[in-house]
């Protein structure tokens, strides 16, 4: 049964992703839209955290190893209350804590600097181990990109995680999620360097693997529950996703990995995300002041 609240949040976050990238004039929509359902489920369904106390020692940690998708993370952080949503449009602007890639020192709530792909899993291992040594119940969630796992350091960490801390401090507080959207920067992953059989690879390294539809909020929640219930080893979740999910002209197109929409494209994207057919758009906007404000802002950007 789909959680309507989470679906609404995910939809709103998609709108904000499009909005902030358009204001920034650069950034990565494809991987932000593919990961947002995972982040929404985490931040609003699972995470034990307190935005008022981002340094709470027993908070659950999220490490977005595919750091270029940080606009998605900023939207769920803003909605959770780490900072006002109005600040989202400062993304990538001089002086903003919303750096183009996550900066731990700039924004409370960011757990590690990422953006240089391939490093977040190692840091997550250290976090999970440190929490275990402390006797903390906190969990660590690490999100990897599919292209990202071509990096060698990922496999150093993959090899170590099921063994590290054993037998007294196994890293069963760690859940790793692969945003398997089948596209990397230059092209489809299959065309650059195929990962298959990806499940078998992680299983061979000693990880229990769960495969899900990464846009099905129920499946995500269930996988996270299963991971939490699993004792003695960390869990790997392969989330099959669609790059650019929610915007027809971005979906499954490598071109939308790393470019921002133009204002007119953004407005169309927002309409699609909200599921409003073209003929009903004016009427919709008349009734929805918040969306109207976002669209007007974007239209003003176009005029500039």
């Amino acid at each position: 049964m789909a959680d309507a609240r989470l679906e609404t949040i995910a939809r709103e976050c998609r709108v904000q992703i499009i909005r902030m990238l358009t204001h920034a004039g650069s950034g990565h929509p494809g991987g932000s839209l593919s990961v947002i359902d995972l982040l929404t489920t985490l931040y609003f369904g699972r995470l034990r955290h307190d935005p008022q106390r981002p340094d709470w020692p027993d908070r659950d940690r999220v490490v977005l190893s595919k750091g270029h998708a940080v606009p998605a993370l900023y939207t769920v952080m803003a909605k959770s209350g780490y900072f006002p949503e109005s600040r989202l449009v400062t993304l990538r602007k001089l002086g903003s804590p919303l750096q183009g890639h996550p900066d731990r020192t700039a924004l409370p709530g960011i757990e590690a600097a990422t953006g240089s792909l391939g490093q977040g899993l190692s840091v997550s291992l250290g976090l999970a181990l440190g929490l275990r040594l402390q006797g903390s119940a906190a969990r660590v969630y690490c999100i990897l990109g599919d292209g990202e796992i071509q990096e060698g350091q990922v496999w150093e960490a993959a090899m170590a995680a099921p063994k590290l801390g054993q037998p007294k401090h196994p890293l069963d507080n760690l859940c790793v999620i692969l945003d398997y959207n089948k596209i990397q920067l230059d092209n489809f992953v299959k065309k650059i360097l195929d990962l298959e059989p990806v499940l078998a690879k992680w299983q061979a390294f000693g990880w229990p693997v769960i495969e899900i539809d990464g846009h099905d909020l129920d499946q995500i929640a269930k996988a996270l529950d299963q991971a939490e219930a699993r004792k003695g080893v960390p869990t790997f979740v392969v989330a099959n996703t669609v790059k650019g999910k929610g915007v027809s002209f971005m979906e499954n197109d490598p071109e939308w990995h790393g470019k921002a929409p133009k204002p007119a494209e953004a407005i169309r994207a927002i309409r699609e995300i909200l599921g409003v057919p073209e003929p009903r758009w004016t009427e919709y906007l008349a009734k929805n002041a918040a969306t109207r404000a976002i669209v007007d802002e974007l239209a003003a950007l176009e005029a500039k």
């Binding site: 020692p57 731990r104 840091v123 250290g126 181990l129 440190g130 040594l133 960490a157």
Partner: protein, 308 residues
């Protein structure tokens, strides 16, 4: 005190500090026998992690541990630690993770293993990153104080340690302070600045120069970043000549750091002694002689530099 390798002094210090401070943990990459964390890992097996031959992962795990409040010492040969520069840059430096990076087996002094195992570019690399002190102790006493300091220091730090034994050079009442150098021997004709493994030979060279009527001031520069700018300017302001002596690439190390500062603040004749080109296999005495880092070589370079 007998001569002791700074890696050995490090291992002893870690054991001692570990007893008092349970935040301290070690992360090694299959070189713990060489980095000498073994005393610690035998005593505190639950706080010592060997992640296999995977230095990038070692650094990242160290960063994560630090972010939960642990004080991790991540240890390998200097070349292998700093060889994973990209992980240091992101996961340690930019993250501002409180990781204590320890690079042992620095310089050509490791000898027979040859270039592949020699840390010769580590100072240059780490020095380029914001906010990471680079510290190279010169003897057992200084090493133990530096390790104790590293535990207290908030933020990442890099310690550069030797494989070879180091003769004691610091006075018994010496106290290490970040950014403070130590005049081991006063003199008015030339300032010799050495660090780590070259300090003792530089003192020996100064004795030889004395016999020629050259009064060399010898400074132990444990802190390569930050430099002791005050002491540097005071000393070279008096002597008017400066020679740096280090077992590291001639580019970007202690000599480079001193040259950068003096070039801006007080330009003057300067000579950098260090390693040129790749290292190679050989006995460490022979290698020091070849690179002019033995007492005779240092003294002769200083004479030539002063036109004496």
């Amino acid at each position: 005190m007998p001569a002791k390798a700074s890696r050995a002094a490090f291992g002893e210090a870690l054991l001692e500090l570990g007893a008092r401070d349970d935040r301290i943990v070690t992360v090694d990459a299959d070189l713990s026998k060489s980095t000498m964390t073994t005393k610690f890992s035998k005593t505190y097996p639950e706080r010592a992690f060997n992640v296999g031959i995977a230095e990038s992962n070692m650094l990242g795990i160290g960063a994560g541990l630090a972010l939960t409040g642990k004080v991790p010492f991540v240890c390998s040969f200097a070349c292998f630690v700093v060889g994973r520069f990209e992980t240091i840059r992101m996961s340690v430096a930019y993250t501002q993770a409180n990781v204590k990076m320890v690079g042992t087996h620095c310089g050509v002094a490791i000898g027979e293993d040859g270039y592949s195992q020699m840390g010769l570019e580590d100072i240059a690399c780490i020095r380029a990153l914001p906010n990471i002190p680079v510290v190279q102790p010169a003897d057992e006493l200084e090493t133990k104080q530096v390790v104790a300091y590293a535990v207290e220091h908030e933020g990442p730090i890099y310690l550069r340690l030797t494989r070879q034994n180091l003769e004691p050079v610091c006075p018994p009442d010496y106290r290490f302070e970040l950014g403070r150098w130590l005049v081991l021997r006063p003199g008015n004709d030339v300032t010799l600045i050495a660090s780590g493994g070259t300090v003792f030979n530089t003192l020996e060279a100064a004795k030889r120069l004395d016999a020629d009527g050259i009064a060399a001031e010898v400074i132990n520069a444990a802190c390569i970043k930050p430099l002791d700018e005050e002491l540097l300017l005071r000393s070279v302001g008096r002597t008017g000549h400066v020679v740096t002596v280090e077992d590291h690439s001639i580019s970007g190390g202690l000599g480079g750091a001193v040259a950068e500062t003096l070039g801006e603040v007080m330009p003057m004749p300067l000579k950098r002694l260090g390693v040129q080109g790749f290292g190679e296999s050989g006995d460490s005495k022979g290698l020091y002689a070849k690179h002019g880092l033995d007492p005779a070589g240092i003294a002769s370079s200083v004479r030539k530099f002063l036109n004496r």
